[in-house]
Symmetry: C2
Subunit: 100 residues, 2 copies
């Protein structure tokens, strides 16, 4: 189980992410991805689903046609850990360049 | 394009659905499905995704591990139509018996 990211480590880790923001009402990070249509969004979500299952690290996420909103946090730590930051980087790598 | 369901037709159609409720702040219907884990939820969502793409009738939906919240309405009608009721019935057929 990893520890919650705090202080300077947290600041540095979050600063290296693109388009991710802290959720206001809880210790989590979020990003909205945009795709041309549902099929493209679903292709991305399927890639993420496989990664999530392999790593047993699952997002909360919402989909509406080409829009995918992802919320990440670590359940065992009840907050944002390095695992979430790493997962976020992987998602950005999977997404089309204009979503990075 | 189908028309919004209103009046007695709407009442009758919604009464025949199981576990679906009207969304308060907009003309849409919603249901939450529960699965043992993410893999089971994702299996269901993939079935729904294919149906949605085939029918070009897409839900708004949220997933958190085994929980899947589905919102249905018809974009072209800006409200609930018979197409949503039919789609809801199909989802219930795809879901495990304890979600019907």
């Amino acid at each position: 189980m990893s520890d919650r990211l705090v202080g300077i480590k947290r600041q540095t880790a979050l600063k290296e992410l693109h388009g991710w923001a802290e959720v206001l009402e809880r210790d989590a990070i979020r990003k909205t991805y945009h795709f041309p249509d549902f099929a493209a969004a679903w292709g991305f979500m399927n890639q993420v689903a496989l990664l999530a299952e392999r790593q047993q690290h699952h997002p909360e996420w919402f989909n509406d046609l080409g829009r995918v909103e992802v919320i990440l946090y670590t359940r065992s730590a009840d907050g944002v850990t390095q695992a979430d930051v790493d997962f976020a980087h992987r998602l950005d790598q999977m997404a089309p360049p204009d979503n990075r």
